[in-house]
Symmetry: C2
């Protein structure tokens, strides 16, 4: 038997292994396709400071909703983002590993391939091209009909034309794909609901195959500050990264090279580091030998004088936006949230935010976990996620005296330049120790606040009951006392019955009215 060697293209690889990217069956694929396009739209809008307006419609291709699933659907997604320069459109949508997500900056997309995977899946299940309309100037729009050449990993342009547009910028995308909406609908609706919770500054409209209209309305115009692109932190470097930096850099001395190319490394730290590592400050980085590069990387990982990454490349929601979103979707009796200070793992900065909602009419009894990463809801594989691990194994629930069946929701949000996903399908986060620690601290903090609220609530209830009894007897006692003492006027007992100050107490512990 002879081994046959062959080369395959990236498209071919993911075509063969689509389970890896979340396209394992018609139900999952429908869900993945919808989220990939929405998330691309949100990334584009936010980076350009545009309040997102996203329209999604899913229609059975044969217009018969009662025909059996799985079947072919038409998915239309439209955004009001900045659009994509038409010259990039074919490759951005028709080539795996071509995209705009390859900088070191927080974004929902991490792998730069979700959209192309959805288009590929649509093509292999329905044999139809995708249609993309883009306008960047609001004057002219360009429409492309594309197929993907899987073996060549290249777009095939079937049709291209342009037409005037009336002020509209953004992308409209129409895709045909096999799906199973009867199985996927619950996940898709959950996705929208949770997305609205974590993106309260966006409008989402979804028309489902039954013609049902779901509208998630914007409740705030405050958007998170867009993340900045950042330099690599010394702890996150490797030999390959250093070699590239040297190749690109025009610095002619090590001290300049160090202070121009790394996150939070100035001349002072650069100089101290070079002494530590045993390099001449004035040495030209282009003259470093292979062994010297290895030595440099080793020193970069062990020197303890570097500053922790700062968070300017991150864009957390902040407690206020997070609480606004939670309040909107869950309408709880009590709500609180906390944003932890920035931390880092392997040189990648991250921030953990945790919200907590308790009571109200929507939440059911028991604990519900909502997980988000870079503002994406994560709906699958909850049991494997680091947040589940923390909740189940690392929280001493007894300490907080919260009834076991309390109607409770914990909302976790991790943002980072590199979310430690364990699959391309972006379902759950690895249990990096640094991440675990921040989640643990944040969850403890919100639980303490709930615990305090609940104990206050109990004591206020007791006070109220006591006052109700006083309220019954105090007038009688006052009356009898008056008669016994022969006074003419009733004593002013009403002041004693004021419970306003207790109500103030309650308000203090409900963070948002």
């Amino acid at each position: 038997m002879i081994d046959v060697f062959a080369e395959i293209s990236p498209s071919e690889f993911f075509y063969r292994n689509r389970d890896l990217a979340g396209f394992s069956n018609p139900s999952r694929a429908l869900y993945s396709a919808i989220r990939e396009f929405i998330e691309n739209s949100l990334d584009a809008c936010e980076l350009h400071g545009i309040l997102p307006e996203i329209f999604v419609r899913l229609t059975p291709m044969d217009f018969d909703i009662n025909s059996q699933d799985p079947k072919a659907y038409i998915l239309k997604v439209r955004d009001n983002g900045p659009g994509i320069d038409p010259k990039y459109v074919p490759k951005a949508f028709g080539q795996v590993f071509f995209g705009s997500k390859f900088q070191l900056r927080q974004s929902r997309g991490m792998f730069g391939m979700g959209g192309t995977m959805a288009i590929l899946y649509g093509q292999i299940t329905t044999n139809k091209p995708v249609r993309i309309t883009t306008s960047v100037d609001g004057i002219q729009a360009f429409t492309f009909d594309l197929l993907i050449d899987v073996q060549g990993n290249a777009p095939i342009i079937l049709k291209k034309d342009s037409h005037p547009t009336e002020g509209f910028t953004g992308i409209t995308l129409t895709l045909n794909l096999e799906g199973d909406y009867s199985r996927a609908s619950q996940k898709i609706l959950d996705y929208f609901k949770q997305l609205a919770m974590v993106t309260p500054y966006a409008n989402f409209t979804f028309i489902d195959p039954y013609g049902r209209l779901f509208i998630y309305k914007r409740v705030t115009k405050i958007m998170p500050v867009p993340p900045k692109e950042t330099l690599l932190h010394p702890y996150g470097t490797d030999v390959e990264a250093i070699r590239r930096l040297i190749k690109q850099s025009k610095d002619d001395s090590m001290v300049k090279f160090m202070s121009n190319n790394f996150h939070r490394v100035g001349k002072n730290i650069a100089s101290k580091f070079l002494n530590y590592a045993g390099f001449d400050q004035e040495k030209d980085p282009k003259t470093l030998s292979n062994d010297e590069i290895t030595k440099l990387v080793k020193a970069l990982h062990t020197f303890d004088g570097f500053l922790q990454p700062d968070a300017s490349c991150l864009s957390p929601l902040g407690e206020e936006i997070l609480m606004t979103g939670i309040k909107k979707e869950l309408e709880p009796e009590f709500i609180t949230a906390t944003t932890r200070p920035p931390s880092a793992y392997s040189g990648f900065p991250f921030i953990v935010e945790v919200g907590l909602a308790y009571g109200g009419k929507i939440l059911q009894r028991g604990l519900k976990l909502f997980r988000f990463a870079n503002r994406i809801p994560l709906l699958y594989d909850e049991a494997n996620d680091v947040a589940s691990k923390v909740l189940n194994e690392e929280i001493e629930w007894k300490r907080y005296k919260i009834p076991e069946d309390a109607p409770l929701a914990i909302i976790t949000h991790v943002c980072s330049t590199k979310i430690p996903y364990k699959t391309v399908g972006k379902e759950y986060l690895a249990d990096r120790p640094e991440l675990e620690k921040e989640l643990r601290n944040a969850i403890r903090e919100v639980l303490r606040k709930l615990s305090l609220y609940l104990s206050r609530k109990v004591s206020i209830e007791m006070d109220k009951r006591r006052f109700n009894i006083y309220g019954k007897y105090l007038p009688l006692i006052a009356k009898f006392s008056k008669e016994l003492s022969g006074m003419k006027k009733l004593p002013n007992y009403k002041k004693l019955l004021e419970i306003k100050r207790f109500q103030k107490d309650i308000e203090e512990y409900i963070d948002v009215k």
Copy 2:
């Protein structure tokens, strides 16, 4: 802010996202590197019918085992396989998505990238080339020193020479990489132990960084029949696959096309199918329009006259080899195994084998699960695996009357042309319903056998005890009876005390002595 579009190479993608391939940290990376090379060696040996001899040595690069982990290690792996033609060596080891694993045939490697990922990881952590020596004829060997150009996804040959070899064929590979043996050692030793269990026809030698020598000796020379390459099953097709088949095929009629290109489709079935699908038998497949291809695929998925995939492309261990391996490593009191008939999911055939071991001196109390897929031990993420799901949720344990803390091991082995892994790191299998069903049936079968053995064992124990009592009193009764009846000779009561037939019963229920 402007979107920067860029193209990245497959090497670059996996360089940035090495978590996806099982190279997330120095401990995991060491484990992954060792297994990827061993598994490539085993695949090569078995495909050529060679009894595998695999030698693995791991040495600290600074020769100081007490220096702190993580640190640089030298990993050497040598096999006695067929070797690789030197003209393919640079690309096979230095280019992602180039390999020999892209046919439809059972093999340990699925993604054709594990070896290259390990080399890439070694390069970025130690900045050293990999050295590969190959000989295919046993006369001449070729040695390459290689680096990977990550951005270009291409091998860089630093050195190449050739020298005579004395009858040796196979590959020797020397790689430098950062690792953490103090953390990884347990997993690596578990891996060898389990690999030996499922590959009892191979010799493995491992010298660990402490200089400890681990030898796993071959106990049988019977190897599983190598898998054959197979055609695609109609249920596993899509539009893209059909388009390629049409392009390659020289058939000038649909009926020829159907019967030459699909698994278990002969003229008879092809003809029935074409009637069902509404295609002319004599139509030239090259004239099919896009819409007709779509219609064809739809019919291929819905026609119920196709045969289930056969298993000639699969290579299960078989009950005998599986039990030999289990016996060797676990030395149990009772052992059984079952190989299920072939089944299929989405057109991919698979076979489930399950072994069970009970008692003996090695097994501890409680249930231990050993998982294998295409003869690879799966050590990580057990809780997510379909076999865990079946054991925990679908088996009515009470029915089998097995004590809860019984010293029990269940060994599951799934082989398929396409294992439904959920990550490139090959850790656990998705819960495809067809797979779940076969596992459930196989596990029930071995549990029934154990249950029967245990109840026999109990009744034999009781019989023995009874016989011990008889053994005490029967001679006395015989003696008294003799005296009472005035007989001269003792009756022959000894025959009544023979328990041989019970021992036979025991033997029948222990499948392997």
